[in-house]
């Protein structure tokens, strides 16, 4: 952490990376900040605390072709699309890196791997950037995160205003760091500056205590609280769309005559027919079941299954919900109703 890069050198440094890797980084897109592939250093924006949509799409795109087929050529000779070049995912906040670590076990491991996710995950080097400030919706500290955490990053940039302290954490990170070595200078004061910054930011995180919430939810499936809570939900699905740990997808065939493709795209447990089966049986037919499932997934099911929090406290869902259904409110409510 004794190395630093001047902020005014960042664009040039990112361009050196972009010359060798596909650079995926947050850019301004109208009123949103979105992670986009193939961007140039000058387009990268780092002033938003959180991107509008999480960067999970780097590994699990909103929409991707699983394979294409052409039955006229040979039956079932499906073609898998190339999983793309080696890439550097730059500008990821600590909470979003934690989210990646928390959905890794869904896509990698248990009984089956995921061809698409794993390929892209392996091809990607992650450069985290600590948060410049803390938004009023941020509560990553609740789940053991912090605005300066480096867990899961290959390289970590610590935002110190006019410069970034740079920490190389893995071999993958080393290879990328070599590309920007000429921009790095020694700065013995950097570690102390990072530590001071870490303290300052951690103190600003919204204090939300989840102690006892999981234990309460263990016995709260039938609790009337869900009926009240779900009443105002519009089932718009924005909360799941922006969330870095939501991983539901749909599989759809798109074809014309003998040619076409099988795609998968983000789906949402908030969607109307998400659990509708043939014959009309729907296991989660109404708002009540859907809202309950979302919060149970975030605060209990994911934890039960993977021993990892299903929410990492990025605050996006609370920020975007049109009716102000706030997960931090749910956490404190649940502690009060028990």
């Amino acid at each position: 952490m004794n190395k630093v890069i001047k902020r005014d050198q960042l664009v040039a440094a990112l361009d050196s990376i972009a010359a060798k890797y596909q650079l995926i980084a947050p850019v301004q897109d109208e009123s949103s900040v979105l992670f986009k592939p193939g961007v140039a250093g000058k387009d990268v924006v780092l002033d938003a605390v959180n991107s509008t949509v999480s960067p999970k799409g780097t590994f699990f795109p909103q929409w991707e072709t699983m394979y294409t087929y052409n039955m006229a050529e040979a039956d079932f000779a499906v073609k898998h699309p190339d999983q793309g070049p080696d890439r550097v995912l730059f500008g990821v906040r600590p909470c979003d890196i934690m989210a990646i670590l928390h959905i890794d076990p869904v896509f990698i491991g248990e009984k089956f791997g995921d061809f698409y996710y794993e390929a892209k995950r392996n091809k990607t080097t992650i450069i985290g950037v600590s948060c410049p400030s803390v938004a009023h919706t941020c509560f990553c500290s609740t789940f053991g995160g912090s605005p300066t955490a480096n867990k899961g990053a290959d390289i970590m940039f610590y935002d110190l205003g006019d410069k970034f302290a740079v920490e190389v954490l893995t071999d993958k990170g080393k290879a990328v760091a070599e590309l920007i070595s000429k921009f790095l200078t020694d700065d013995a004061a950097a570690p102390a500056a990072v530590e001071a910054k870490a303290k300052e930011l951690a103190a600003q995180c919204k204090p939300v205590d989840v102690t006892g919430v999981k234990e309460f939810l263990d016995g709260a499936f039938e609790h009337p609280y869900w009926v009240e809570l779900s009443k105002k939900c519009l089932n718009c699905g924005v909360c799941t769309y922006v969330c870095p740990t939501c991983h539901c997808f749909d599989v759809v065939d798109e074809g014309y005559k003998s040619e076409g493709q099988r795609i998968r795209c983000w789906d949402s447990c908030m969607a109307k027919d998400f659990n509708l089966a043939a014959g009309g049986h729907n296991t989660r037919p109404s708002k009540l079941e859907k809202v309950r499932n979302r919060f149970m997934h975030k605060l209990k099911y994911h934890l039960d299954r993977y021993n990892l929090a299903g929410c990492i406290g990025c605050g996006r869902c609370s920020q975007k919900c049109p009716v102000n259904l706030d997960i931090t409110q749910v956490i404190s409510d649940v502690k009060a109703v028990k």
């Binding site: 699983m66 394979y67 087929y69 039955m71 039956d75 079932f76 499906v78 898998h80 869904v106 896509f107 248990e110 009984k111 089956f112 791997g113 995921d114 061809f115 499936f221 939501c246 991983h247 539901c248 997808f249 749909d250 599989v251 759809v252 065939d253 074809g255 003998s258 076409g260 099988r262 998968r264 789906d267 447990c269 998400f274 659990n275 509708l276 089966a277 043939a278 014959g279 049986h281 296991t283 989660r284 079941e289 499932n293 149970m296 997934h297 209990k300 099911y301 994911h302 039960d304 299954r305």
Partner: protein, 283 residues
């Protein structure tokens, strides 16, 4: 060819339909053989497991393997015509191809069943998944490992009975095997039992002593079968059933089939009643 196919659990291997049996007006049994003999050989399905059957351009459907692994060289699927994709499957003919991926999910606990009597209770298409277990247990090489097998099966009408060749020919001829068939309403040309499955079961009154019950069928039938078994003194651990849910990936990723923290596609579809009672009632 790239290794993508063998590395991608969501790739469905091509298979050819080798035989079609019309079970009922809306159920057909398809016998299928993988085009690659190696894939067929290594498939390794266990009784109770499911597959995804893929029709490019139309979609995928979750279907139980109804044949027992003791019958090698092919797989059988009994498919009820209920919607978009199953409709297309019903139009397929011998020689045509589909994609198959799997096998998925857990299996009936055939190891724990050793030395015990079995009572199999099925309704309608619900016999399809359990048929893999019945044929496994009744196979010559396994028969000595299991006790008496009772099969209680019902459908709405005579025409709606699946697997008539098994119910009336194959199974009754097997050693220590009793088959009880019933239909919901009396009709001409039927001199067999007329009763709903749960009522027939109660009449047969199987004692729970050293037995395991397996029940699959319409939710309403299962509900009353479970009540009946409880009344007859069966313990939750002795009763096995399967859960269904809408599925997309069948490999625990798409998040569609969860009941609480369980994914039916990975942790199920086979559960005993004690396990089900631990789960939120959302199936």
């Amino acid at each position: 060819m790239c290794k993508c196919a063998s590395e991608n659990p969501m790739y469905a291997y091509p298979a050819t339909i080798t035989k079609i049996i019309e079970e009922t007006p809306d159920v057909k049994t398809f016998q299928m053989v993988f085009d690659d003999p190696q894939v067929q050989e290594n498939f390794g399905n266990q009784p109770g497991q499911v597959t995804m059957i893929s029709l490019l351009g139309h979609g995928e459907i979750t279907i139980s393997i109804t044949s027992s692994p003791t019958r090698k060289g092919m797989l059988e699927f009994s498919i009820k015509k209920v919607g978009r994709v199953t409709e297309i499957v019903h139009q397929l003919e011998v020689g045509m191809k589909v994609g198959i991926r799997g096998p998925y999910g857990n299996n009936f606990p055939f190891e724990d069943m050793k030395g015990k009597d079995l009572v199999i209770i099925g309704g309608g298409i619900g016999l399809a998944p359990v048929r893999s277990l019945i044929d496994y247990v009744l196979a010559d090489e396994n028969r000595a490992d299991y006790g008496h097998v009772d099969i209680v099966y019902g459908a709405r009408s005579k025409a709606d009975l699946c697997f008539k060749y098994d119910l009336f020919d194959t199974w009754p001829q097997k050693k220590d095997t009793s088959v009880y068939v019933t239909i919901d309403r009396s009709e001409e040309g039927w001199d067999g039992k007329v009763a709903f499955v749960p009522a027939y079961l109660e009449e047969l009154n199987p004692s729970p002593e050293n037995k395991i019950a397996v029940t699959c069928g319409p939710p309403i039938m299962i509900k009353f079968v479970l009540q009946t078994l409880a009344k007859l003194g069966w313990k939750d651990e002795q009763i096995i059933t399967t859960l269904e849910g809408r599925m997309k990936c069948c490999i625990g990723k798409c998040g569609r089939c969860n009941v609480g923290d369980k994914f039916i596609c990975l942790d199920g579809p086979v559960f005993n009643l004690a396990q089900i009672k631990q789960m939120p009632e959302e199936f």
